[in-house]
C-alpha cells in the first residue's frame, strides 16, 4: 500500500529550491530522507558544507507551514507522488548518467519503468510526414510491447505518445515543469489519455514549477536516460532534439534516425546524424531487429506489426489513380495530368479511394497512398 500523496510534501519542498541535482543528492546521502533535511533546515543545524547559502535561504523561506499546507493540497489534488535516488525503485539506468535527478515526481503507474522502453523525439513544429511516421512507428513498436518515452510537447512528441497508446503499450512522458501544469495546455487531453491507458508522467520539477525554457533541454537527459535507445524522427541541425542526441551519446545509448525527405529542411539534422554514423531505420521491425527484440511477444488482440492489408481497386479509374500515386505525394493537378481524367471524375474517384482508406488527402491539395493502414 502506497502512502498518501500528501506524504511526499517534503520531497516537493526539497525540489522547490531547484538546487543542482548533485547538491540534493549529497544532502540525501547524508540525511537519507527529505523529512530529515527539513528538520535540519528548520532547526538551522544543516551541514553548511553540503549546501550553498542561497539554496539554504530558499529552502528556509519555503519551510513555512502555509507553504507546506498549500503543497499538500496540490499533491493530493493531482495525485502526484515522488521517489528519490535513495529509494529502491530508482531506475538503475539513471544512476549511471551524468547529473542524475535526485528527486523524481510522477503520476500514474511506476511499473512502466520496468518495461522495455524506447525514447522517441523530434521537432515541436513538425512536418506532416514526420508526425505520420512517428505515430506509425510508435504504434508498431507498442504492439510489440515496447513503451515509448517522450516529452509530451507538441508535434513529434504528441504523435509518438498517441501512437504508443494506440498500439496498446503504456507510454511515459517526461515533462519540463511541475506535474500540476500541462504544457502546452492543448495537450491536456493527451495527458489524461496517457494516464487512462496505464502510462506514466514523470518530472524532476516540484509541483507549481513553471515551464521555463532551460528546463526542456535539461529534462531531455531523463528521456534518454530511461530508454534503451533513442529514436530521432525529425531534427533540425540546431534544435532540442540534437541535445537529446548528445545526452544519448554521453549515456552510451543507440541512436536510430529516421531518414526523412532529403529535400525537406525539417530533416536536415537527421541526415547529418546518418552521415555521422547513426543507425538507419524505416520501420519498427528494423529497430526491433537491431535491438534483438524481434521475439518480443505481441500484445494480444492487436494486428501483427506492419500488416498492411492491400486495398484492391474496384474500377479502372481507381486503378489508374493508385498507380499514378505510387511514387509518392502528388497534387490534384499532377494526378489529373498523369491519369487524363476529367476533373469531376477524378474528384469522385479520389473520394472513393479516401473512403476505402487507400489514399489520404494532405493539406495543400496533395494526395498520397496511405501507408498507415490498420
Amino acid at each position: 500500500m502506497k502512502t498518501d500523496a500528501a506524504g511526499y510534501v517534503y520531497h516537493a519542498w526539497l525540489a522547490s529550491a531547484t538546487l543542482q541535482p548533485q547538491i540534493i543528492s549529497n544532502l540525501l546521502k547524508e540525511y537519507r530522507i527529505p523529512e530529515n533535511i527539513w528538520r535540519a533546515v528548520v532547526s538551522g543545524n544543516v551541514l553548511k558544507n553540503l549546501i550553498t547559502p542561497a539554496g539554504f535561504n530558499t529552502l528556509k523561506r519555503n519551510a513555512s507551514d502555509e507553504w507546506i499546507e498549500k503543497m499538500k493540497q496540490l499533491l493530493v489534488h493531482h495525485d502526484i507522488r515522488a521517489f528519490t535516488m535513495m529509494d529502491e525503485i530508482y531506475p538503475s539506468s539513471l544512476q549511471q548518467m551524468q547529473a542524475p535527478p535526485a528527486i523524481l515526481f510522477y503520476q500514474g503507474d511506476l511499473q512502466c519503468l520496468e518495461r522495455k522502453n524506447l525514447a522517441m523525439v523530434g521537432s515541436r513544429a513538425a512536418s506532416y510526414d514526420g508526425q505520420k511516421a512517428s505515430g506509425r512507428i510508435a504504434r508498431d513498436l507498442s504492439r510489440k510491447g515496447i513503451g515509448i518515452i517522450s516529452g509530451m510537447a507538441g508535434g513529434i512528441d504528441s504523435a509518438s505518445h498517441s501512437g504508443c497508446i494506440e498500439g496498446g503499450s503504456p507510454t511515459i512522458a517526461v515533462t519540463g515543469c511541475g506535474l500540476d501544469i500541462v504544457y502546452p495546455s492543448i495537450n491536456i487531453r493527451l495527458r489524461d489519455n496517457i494516464l487512462e491507458h496505464g502510462g506514466l508522467l514523470i518530472s524532476e520539477y516540484a509541483p507549481g514549477e513553471k515551464p521555463v525554457g532551460w528546463h526542456f533541454p535539461f529534462r531531455n537527459r531523463i528521456i534518454t536516460g530511461l530508454a534503451k535507445a533513442l529514436i530521432v524522427i525529425e531534427a533540425k541541425i540546431r534544435s532540442g532534439t540534437m541535445t537529446s542526441v548528445q545526452h544519448a551519446l554521453d549515456q552510451g545509448k543507440d541512436i536510430f534516425v529516421y531518414p526523412g525527405d532529403p529535400a525537406s529542411p525539417f530533416f536536415e539534422g537527421n541526415h547529418l546524424l546518418l552521415r555521422e554514423g547513426a543507425q538507419y531505420f524505416t520501420t519498427a521491425m528494423d529497430i526491433l531487429e537491431d535491438l534483438g527484440w524481434l521475439d518480443n511477444p505481441e500484445i494480444i488482440g492487436q494486428n501483427s506489426v506492419c500488416s498492411g492489408r492491400a486495398i484492391k481497386p474496384s474500377t479502372p479509374e481507381e486503378e489508374t489513380v493508385l498507380s499514378a500515386l505510387s511514387p509518392g505525394k502528388l497534387s490534384f493537378e499532377q494526378i489529373a495530368e498523369r491519369c487524363d481524367l476529367a476533373p469531376a471524375t477524378l474528384l469522385s474517384t479520389l473520394t472513393m479511394l479516401q473512403i476505402k482508406g487507400a489514399i489520404e488527402a494532405l493539406p495543400g491539395k496533395l494526395y498520397q497512398i496511405n501507408d498507415s493502414k490498420s
Binding site: 497534387s331 469531376a344 469522385s348
Partner: protein, 516 residues
Amino acid sequence: MNEIMARTLSFGVSGVNGYPVHVEVFGINGIPGMEIIGLPDASVRESRDRVNAAIINSGKEMQPKRITINLAPADTKKEGPSFDLPIAIGVMIATKEIIPDPDLQTDQIALFGELSLDGHIQPIAGALPMVISAKENGIRDVILPDKNAKEVACIEEMNIMPVSHLREVINYFEGKDTIKKQKQISYESLKNEIIVGTDMSQIKGQKAARRALEVAAAGGHNMLMIGVPGSGKTMLARCLPGILPPMSFEEALETTRIHSICGKLPPNSGLMVIRPFVAPHHNASVSSLIGGGQEAKPGEVSVAHNGVLFLDELPEFSRSALEALRQPLEDGIVTVSRVRKQAIYQSSFMLIAAMNPCPCGFYGSTKRICRCTPQETRRYLERISGPLLDRIDLQIEVDSVPVQEINTDSPAESSAMVAARVYAARMIQLERYRGTGKHCNAQLSNAEVKKYCTTNSEASFLLDTAVESMHLSMRAYYRILKVARTIADLDCSEIINSAHIAEAIQYRELDQKYWR
C-alpha cells in the same frame, strides 16, 4: 406688384427610390440675395453660387431681387447638386429672363443636373431611380446631363433629353430650339456587348478549383477557397461574373439603381449587364460593408446585389464585419437604421471568400516551410465563426503546385463554354422550383434538401459511409447533398448518384483537414 413666382420639377432619392421635388421660386424687391429652404444640405445650399455664375455665363442676367427657393416636400432632407438645373431655370422664369414657350408646361418637365460655373451640366448620382420615379408619377419629359443619358435609356415610353450646357435648356424653354432625344436602348442589345474582365481561358491549371467554381455558379453556392499566397484565388473569383447566367432586365435595373445612387456608374454607361464584382479590402468597417452613415447609404453588400462579393483574406476582416454579413446572406436584404433615416437595400449576392491556410500562408505548401505553431494556425482559423461557415456550401483547397511545374498543353476552356453549362443547370433548377419562390439549389433549407435531393441507394450508402469514416458533421451532410444536387443538375440527371456524392464530398475538404 413686385412679387415674382415660378415652379419647376425635379426628383430626389431616398434609399433606392426617387421622389418628386417641386422647386418653387419666389422673388421680391429688397436686399438682393438667394435663400434655399426645404432642408437643403451644404451641397444644395451652395447651389446658389453655382446657379448665379452659370446664369451669367449663359448670357442671361441675374436680377437684383430677394429670392427664396423652396424645395417641397419641405420635411425631407435634400442632398446633392442635382437641383442646380431646376433652380436655375426656375430663377430665370421668375425673373422673366426666360419667357417660356406657351406650349410648354414648365412644371411638368423633370429637370436634374449639376451646374458648373461656366454653365456646363455635370453628371449626377441617382439618375436611374429618379427617372423611374418620374415615369411612375406620370411625367414623360426629362432633361438630364448627357453623361447620364445611357443609364436611363432602357426605360420605355420616356422622352429623355440629354443636355451638356445650360444654354441648350434655356433655348428649349424659350422655344427657340429642340433637344435631340435619347434613343431608347433595349436591354437585349446591351447584352450583346458583354465584355468580361477575366476569362476562364486565362487560368492555367487549377482544374479542381475551376470545376468547383462551375459548381458554385451553377447552384448559386457560396464558396471558400483556401490556399497559399499566389495560388490564383483572386483570379478564379474574378472569373465568376463571366460564367454566371446573364442578369434579367429586372435584376439589371435593381443593380444599376443601387450603383446609380452610390455614384458608382461610370459616365456614359448604360444599364449594367455584367454582374457586379465587389472586393472590399479587409479593413472595411461594418458600415461600409452593410451600409450606413447619416443618410443610411447602401454598403458593399448592396453594391454586390445580384453579383459577387469577394472577401479576400477572410480571417483578417473584423469579427463584427463578418457577423454583420449573416443577415444579407440569409435574407438577401439589409436593413440600415440610422437616427434620421431607415432604409432597406437588396443585397442578394454570391459570397466568394479566400484565405491562407495559416497566418504565414504556407501550411501545406511544397515550396515554402510554414513557420506557424499549431496554436497560431488554430486561432487564425477560429476567427471565422461557425454560423458564417454554415452559410458557405463549398470549401475547397486551391492547388499549391505552381503552374510552371504542370505540362499544360491543352488550352483551358473559355468562360463562354462553362457559362453555357451553368445556364443549362440553372434552367433545370428554375423549372424544379417554379412557384416555390426559390430559384437555385443554394437556397434550399434542410427540409427541402430531403424533398428535392433524391439519391439512389448506392449514393445514400456512400454518403453514410463517408460521414462515418471521414468524421463529417450533420451540417456537412446536408451541404454535401445540396452540392450533389447541383452536380447532378450539371450532369442533367434527376437522380443523384454515387459519383455526384463522391465529388461533392471533395468540396468539404476543409472540414476534414482544417476544422476537425
